[in-house]
Subunit: 319 residues, 2 copies
């Protein structure tokens, strides 16, 4: 059977779940499957799971390539996972190993770059030449896709904006520094602000949502906002302004045409985005603050799968 | 006579002076000439001056192309000066006009990008894949050269880091905003701090250098530092720390391998660079703060000429 040059498999490899999808050149997902990652089984077992997923989502089709998005530090040129904390992997030559098992060319990069590639090519950033993608999840990270190319920086280390130090943030980050952006601008950060709001005795519906304030999540804050809770609005406003401040440092240097924000916490939507945009306009010259589009990601679930597959296809077409 | 594929003319077009040089592929300047720009004569007269300079520096050689670096906003794809305040030019199709006069292909970009291209290819950034260039002059600006390509951003607007808002800076900028980085981190900013130091009655040799504190320059501060003046050391320390703070916002996103600092005020050297590096190491993860090289530009005079010529050659070799 002939290889289909316009179909690839994208894999979103996380510490908890791995999702694989059969994806068309235009970003449409034809089929997808999900498994638990269970990294405690060791690297070979996880790679077996990936190979099995590839086979299942391919069915009787013959995709051209496989792309994998993986959190952590990746060497995309050699296809090696340098360090992925949530998989407990160091220097794993994932591309070569999966190629040997699956019989298909495999490319690899970090998950935020794959998310941004998807949004730039077939999502909320489509049509913008320079797209800055942000994901607000447990942590926070960024990637830049300019004219269809992924910017990786020296040592492939570009994009760790979660660890930009923001003046006035008092929280200690898991990285050991104090004041990192992601201690506020992430799902974890929003949950922390919710907990502090309740613990400070502020009147809020958040106080009645869980037995213990420690159980509050970013989704709870969105729900409280939807119920008209002023404390929830204040939390999302603070997060939006903090993100706006961080982006005011980056925007004159990068001049993105669009900033696309995804990850679980981005589902908060306008209560987060409106103060973000206002902060950018207040702090920057109009040629930056008014020019840049700040938009919510289109692909809430499958961006990693779509981006990985589309990136794999883009690399095949270069050969 | 045959065209020499490895020799080009670079032009550094400023509001006061224009310098043209005949430059080899490796960055060596074979000949150069300088004229007053006198933009008040109008655009045609300035272009005549450029054409005459091209002829004079070429002599009996036949260079492959001409590159021009020009301060302001440039459309490098069309070769148009969109806005150059110090020439009072708007939408001038400079590349096409000089091509018609000089009979050579002409490329165009802003002066900081040409400076950074020179330093990345044949200067202090040579050997580093990702180079962030900064110039500290009347204003302050930046450019990014990654794997030999100039990053321009949406609308070709990338690099205006002089207008990043820095918390705590009280000065109003010529752009209308308050707190812009370049109100401190520039030759103008250093001169302002020198003036304020004298006017505050601080004991300093700066006080005896001019009849009026308004006449103090960035070079005076370097000279006072060389004479052991603590107030001058304090000024350069403040500027270095402010630059370090700004770069701590940019470095996790860009991950440059090297930051090359040029422009007149960079001649202050280590009294400026040491606090800058210390601030980066204090504020960032070691994978950024320890990894990035912060170095003084190699080409103090001719970076614009060299970069423009080398960029012109790099574009010819693509055809």
């Amino acid at each position: 059977m002939n290889i289909e040059a316009r179909v690839a498999i994208g894999i979103d490899l996380g510490g908890t779940n791995v999702v694989a999808g059969l994806v068309q050149e235009d970003g449409q997902v034809l089929a997808s499957e999900r498994e638990r990652t269970r990294p405690e089984r060791g690297e070979s077992a996880v790679i077996e799971t990936l190979a099995s997923l590839v086979q299942r989502v391919a069915g009787d089709r013959k995709p051209a390539a496989v792309g994998i998005g993986c959190p952590g530090f990746i060497d995309p040129l050699r296809g090696v996972v340098l360090l992925a904390s949530n998989l407990a992997w160091t220097n794993v030559p994932l591309a070569a190993k999966l190629e040997a098992r699956a019989g298909l060319p495999v490319v690899l990069d970090n998950d935020v770059r794959m998310f941004t590639f998807a949004e730039a090519k077939a999502g909320a950033g489509q049509g913008y030449p320079v797209v800055l993608g942000l994901t607000l999840g447990t942590g926070m990270s960024a990637a830049l896709v300019h004219q269809g190319a992924i910017y990786r920086g020296g040592g492939f280390l570009a994009g760790e904006v979660g660890h930009i130090p923001i003046p006035g943030i008092p929280y200690r980050c898991s990285c050991g520094l104090t004041g990192c952006l992601e201690t506020i601008a992430s799902a974890t950060g929003i949950a922390r602000l919710a907990r502090e709001t309740v613990q400070a005795g502020t009147p809020t519906v958040l106080a009645s949502m869980h037995e213990r304030a420690e159980l509050l999540t970013a989704a709870d804050v969105s729900q409280a906002y939807a119920e008209g809770d002023p404390a929830a609005a204040s939390i999302l406003g603070q997060v939006g302004r903090t993100l706006g401040e961080a982006l005011s440092y980056l925007t004159p240097m990068l001049s993105p045409d669009a900033i696309v924000i995804g990850g679980g916490a981005a589902q908060a939507g306008e209560p987060l985005f409106a103060p973000l945009r206002r902060t950018l306009r207040e702090r920057l010259l109009p040629m930056y603050g008014d020019r840049v589009a700040v938009v919510q990601a289109k692909h809430l679930d499958h961006a990693g799968v779509i981006g990985s597959a589309m990136y794999a296809l883009s690399q095949r077409s270069k050969e």
